[in-house]
Structures are given as C-alpha cells and as structure tokens.
C-alpha cells in the first residue's frame, strides 16, 4: 500500500521543502521567544533591552508568518493533490512559488536579525505589526512583498489543479479538503490586498526615501485589514486537520461534511471586515465603524463554535465505535497514547480557552481593560501559539512519514512533546492573562518601574513571572524535542507502510447538501461586498483627515460628499 510520497513524488518534495523552512523558522523563533520571556521576567538578560524589540520582531515574524504560512503551503499542496487525486499541473510553477516565498522570508529575516549587529546599519525593529511610524530597512518590506506574492502564486497553482479536475469532473462536488484549500485561498487574496497596498505603495517608497511622510493611521488600518484574516490563514490549516484527520485518528468519521463547508464559507465571508477590532483605541476612526467591526467579529465566533461541535462530535463517534459509553466517560475511550491525536485534541482544548479571552478582546468596552496588556499575548499564545502550532506539530507526526516513506523515530517522545507543550502553555498563558488584568504591559523589555509596583489581587506578581519563565522554558524544550524527533525520523530506513494515511468518508457526505455551498464565485462576491461596507467609509475618512501620504489637507472630500447626499436624502 503506497503512501503519498509514492503516489506524488514531485509534490512530496515540495511539501518537504516547505516543512523544512517552517521548522527552521520554528526553531529560531522559539529561541527568540525564550530569550524574551527570560528577559522581561528578569531571570536572565543576555541581550540589551534595546535589542529586545529586535528579538520580539524576529519571534513574531518567524513564528506567526514564516512557520505557520510555510506549513500551510505544504499542507495545502498535500491536501489539494490527495483530495483531487491528481498531481499539480506544473511542478516548475510549484517550485517557483516555493523559491519566491523562501527568498522573501530570508530577506525579511536577514533584515530583522541584522538589528542585533550595530555595525551592519540595517534593522527592522518594527515588531510583527509592521506599520508606520516605525520604519524598517527596505529589504524587510521587499522580502515581505516577495513572500506575499509567492503565496499568491501558490494559490494560482492550487486553482489551476482545481480547474483541471473540474474539466474532468464537471458534475462532482468539490472534495472537502480541496474546498477548504480554495475557500481559504480566496480569503487570503481578498485580505492581502490591504497589506500589499500598505507595503508597496507606502512603506517601500517611504523606506527608500522617495516620499517623506505616510499617513500612519492609514498604514495601521491597511495592516489590520490583513492582520485579522491572517489569523484565520493560520487557523484554517489547523481546522482542516481537525475536520479531516482528527476524526480518523480518533477511530471515527467526520460528523458532517456540509457543516464543515458552511464553516469555511463563513470564514471567507467574515474574516476580513473585522480588522478594525484591533483598533478600538485608535483615535481617528469613528466609534460607529468600530461598532460595525465588533458586530462582524461576534458573528465570526459562530464558525468556531460550529467547529467545536462538529469536531467534538466526530471524536465522540470514534470513541463510541471503540466502546465508549456515558456522558463523559467516552473521553477515556479515545486513543490518548497516539501523539498525533493527543496533540490535536489538547490544541482544541486550548482553543476553547483562547475563545474565551478572544470574546473579551472582541468586546469594545471590555477591550479597554486589556488593551496593550500582557493579556493579549496570553490570548494569541492559546490560539496561534497552541491551537495552530501544536496542531501543526502533532499533524507532522502523521504527515511527515507520508512525505518521507519513513516511520516516526519515537512515538513516546512525540507524546511527551505534545503534552509538554500543553503544560508549558498552561503556565505561561495563564500567567500572561492574569498579568494583563493587573495592567502589566505587553511588548516591554523591562516592565518594572521605579516607585511603582503592580499588585495582584490573587497570588503575586513574582509568582506570575516565575510561571511565565517556567512555561516558556518548557515550550522551548518541547520545540527542541519536536525538531529532534522529526530530524531523526528523516534518516530512518524507508519501510513499506510508515503510517496509516487513509481517511474515512464523513458520516454525512456532501451529496444531498445544497449545491450553492460550492459556488465559490457567489461567496467571494458577498465577501467583497461585506469588505466594501465595512471599510470604504473608514478608509475614506482616514484619508480625508490625514491625507493619503500624511500631508494634512482634505483629499478626497469623499466623506463630506456622502454626508451632504445623506442630508439631502434625509
């Protein structure tokens, strides 16, 4: 019984290459994270506090952009080929986007790390949120632009494969994994327009000195136009594994294929017109626009809650098939000794907790309590830092053997690794959330102030610091174990069947579900309309107030005209 590498050797080579880049970024980014955690808690300061922001930028960009998106590129390539049961149309095109994204990522990483060497006169200490007024070296922005264009070409590659498949199968429903790839890619095209305009039109000319000023609020808003959907770009590969792989690992079948499609359609529609919820405290955006973004965000909870139901029900199906009984005791019948299953399940539990803090962040007035405090990194270390990262690591234990034809080096170490990540994150994220409630700021090298002490209602600040440092250390050890295990798996001897890679059919299949679910043009059109509704007036208002390139002056007077028309109509 052949596995993926035997069926699609060329594509397996590309997927392996993307995973290699992803895991290299994971290793370096995790080291940066450990340096940060030990520095800000005061236990070990190996860098100057001024370099803290260089390390912070490296941690954010390498983990949140390079690790996650390169893993996505590999996973989606794997998913589109196996679900459409055909190789990609042109492997040269595939290698081309891999080369472009990798070169771009290296450029950005070089510009960031150069900040640690003053003699180089190059830095990109702009943090992960790379908007004005902080300015990076042009190489950083050029690298980002190349990276994003590379992901666009990857999307074209997947759509070309789909077009070929559709020509051969005009009346078939889109296979579920391919559907997930295509909807996520459409969301990505829509959402990266904002960051592409920000980088290409404003930040690159500004960093090269072609223009003297930019409108900082405009670059912030364009960044966040992309900055929220990008979190779903990280999350969708994890969801794909939860929906299509986790039920099988549990010994069951996906509860409902159509429900999974509904969820991905909802993400396509709602991921983008919510970015302003990251700007609740930005002056220059009217409260009403923020309220619209909040409303959309609350709707965006729905697909994640649907996912909670479907994925848990699919796991329960597996447990029941294996003899599980009762209201809760069926949980004991799940295969908790399988690292791939356990990692994904623990990631799902953490995502439920992250959902709670996300709801807090999303509420306009409650957001004021936690804005820019350590609560926020506490939140996203549960979501991207665990739901996504842990699912990707756990999924790798099942995926990498398919790509290499070699079995996993050690299942026990893998199991220990995923549990260690969970435990480390329980310590670190819980402490971050609590510290945020005390008002301890995020993105601060030395959150200790003279003649001022943060006071904790429960526990103490030093206890929170210990938890953060211990948690971060466990997380770093977990990453080292993961990389060690994957690396040793790559040099095992090839065997006949390194992994059970079959995926059972869903309990409730796509046949009989509304055909409109597969109408990608319709959903894209609605998504565009929602974005226009959510963003046209705020952007016009920002440009009117602050100028397109930061010069004050009324250009264009679009909003005034709208008000006048509205007045006439009223």
């Amino acid at each position: 019984m052949a596995t993926y590498v035997d069926r699609y050797p060329d594509e397996a080579g590309v997927v392996k290459a993307t995973f290699a880049v992803a895991f290299a970024a994971l290793g370096v980014g995790a080291l940066f994270g450990l340096v940060q955690a030990l520095h800000r808690t005061g236990y070990l300061r190996v860098i100057d506090s001024t370099d803290y922001y260089t390390v912070l930028t490296g941690h954010g960009v390498l983990l949140a952009l390079v690790f996650t998106i390169f893993f996505l590129l590999g996973l989606f390539t794997w998913a589109i080929t196996r679900s459409l049961e055909r190789p990609l149309p042109n492997i040269k095109l595939t290698w081309a986007w891999f080369g472009l994204t990798t070169t771009g990522a290296v450029f950005a990483a070089v510009a960031i790390v150069a900040g640690l060497f003053p003699s180089l006169d190059m830095s990109a200490d702009v943090l992960y949120t790379f908007y004005a007024p902080l300015q990076a070296h042009p190489l950083f922005y050029v690298g980002l632009a190349m990276f994003i264009i590379g992901t666009w070409i990857a999307g074209v590659d997947w759509f070309l494969a789909y077009r070929e498949w559709r020509a051969d199968n005009p009346d078939e429903r889109i296979p579920l994994q391919a559907f997930m790839v295509l909807t996520t890619t459409l969301m990505w095209y829509l959402s990266t327009l904002g960051v592409a305009v920000s980088v290409v039109v404003f930040l690159i000319p500004w960093s090269l000195g072609f223009i003297d000023t930019v409108n900082p609020l405009l670059t912030r808003t364009l960044f966040w136009y992309f900055g929220h959907p990008v979190v779903y770009f990280w999350l969708m590969p994890a969801y794909m594994m939860w929906y299509t792989v986790l039920p099988k690992l549990a010994g069951g079948r996906l509860f409902s294929d159509p429900l999974a499609r509904v969820v991905f359609v909802l993400f396509l529609l709602l991921s983008t017109p919510v970015g302003i919820h990251h700007q609740y405290l930005d002056p220059g955006i009217a409260e009403g626009f923020k309220f619209i973004a909040m409303t959309n965000t609350m709707f965006l909870l729905l697909p994640s809650l649907l996912t909670a139901f479907t994925v848990v029900a699919s796991m329960e199906h597996g447990a029941r098939q294996r003899g599980g009984e009762g209201y809760l005791s069926w949980l004991g019948a799940l295969p908790w000794r399988d690292p791939a299953f356990t990692g994904m399940a623990l990631a799902g539990i953490m995502f439920a907790a992250g959902g709670f803090s996300g709801m807090i962040n999303a509420g306009m007035n409650i957001n004021y309590l936690v804005h820019n405090t350590l609560w926020v990194p506490g939140h996203f270390h549960l979501t991207v830092g665990t739901a996504v990262a842990l699912t990707m690591m756990a999924g790798s234990y099942w995926l990498v053997p398919q790509l290499t034809g070699r079995r996993l080096y050690s299942r026990p170490i893998a199991l220990f690794q995923v549990v260690l990540w969970f435990v480390g994150m329980v310590f670190m994220s819980n402490a971050m959330h609590r510290a945020g409630l005390l008002g301890i700021p995020r993105r601060t090298a030395e959150p200790q102030y003279q003649s001022f002490d943060f006071s904790a209602t429960v526990g103490s600040v030093s206890e929170l610091r210990i938890q953060m440092a211990v948690g971060a250390t466990l997380l770093f050890v977990s990453v080292v174990l993961f990389l060690f295990n994957v690396l040793l798996s790559a040099i095992e001897d090839p065997i006949e069947m390194p992994v059970d890679d079959s995926l059972p059919a869903p309990l409730s299949g796509a046949d009989g579900s509304p055909v409109v679910l597969d109408n990608l043009r319709l959903w894209t059109a609605i998504a565009v309309v929602l974005v226009v509704l959510a963003y046209s007036l705020p952007l016009a208002s920002i440009v009117t107030d602050g100028g397109l390139f930061g010069e004050s002056g009324a250009f264009p007077v679009f909003v005034d005209a709208v008000y006048r028309v509205a007045g006439v109509v009223a």
């Binding site: 848990v312 809760l328 791939a340 306009m364 080096y409 209602t457």
Partner: protein, 76 residues
C-alpha cells in the same frame, strides 16, 4: 532504529493494510460501526454545556472583579 511499542493497525476499514506499528491508526478495538442515524452525540452536548457553564462562570466572576464598584468606561 526507532523506539516504539507495537500497537495494532487501523480499525479495519481497509483489509489490505498490513498489521504493525503505524502512527495515526486508532487501535483495532473498534467494537461496532455506528452509522449516521445510530450516532447520537450526547457526549458532545455535555462537553459543550460544560464549556458554556465555565464561560458563564468566568463572565460573572469578571463582573465582580472588574466592574463592581468601578465607574463606567465611557465610550466616545
């Protein structure tokens, strides 16, 4: 030279698959096949209700910690 324990192969949906240690295959102790209509996800309902109760409890707790006795946060 891998370190691992022997486990059963997958849960028997593909008879061509050889027995032996493979990652990602639930042990072959499937006692029954449950079809769509035979499966009633009451356990899922229980888990989601537990989550909901935790959420409500935390929101109530937050009200006492953060809001009670404080001034309103004025918007605008």
């Amino acid at each position: 030279m891998a370190i691992e324990t022997e486990t059963d192969s997958s849960s028997g949906r593909d008879p061509e698959r050889p027995k032996g240690y493979v990652v990602g295959s639930a042990p072959a102790d499937a006692e029954r096949e449950l079809s769509h209509d035979e499966f009633d996800p009451v356990g899922t309902l229980t888990v989601i209700l537990v989550y909901f109760l935790i959420l409500v409890g935390m929101w109530v707790f937050m009200y006492f910690v953060e809001f009670l006795g404080n001034e309103l946060t004025v918007v605008g």
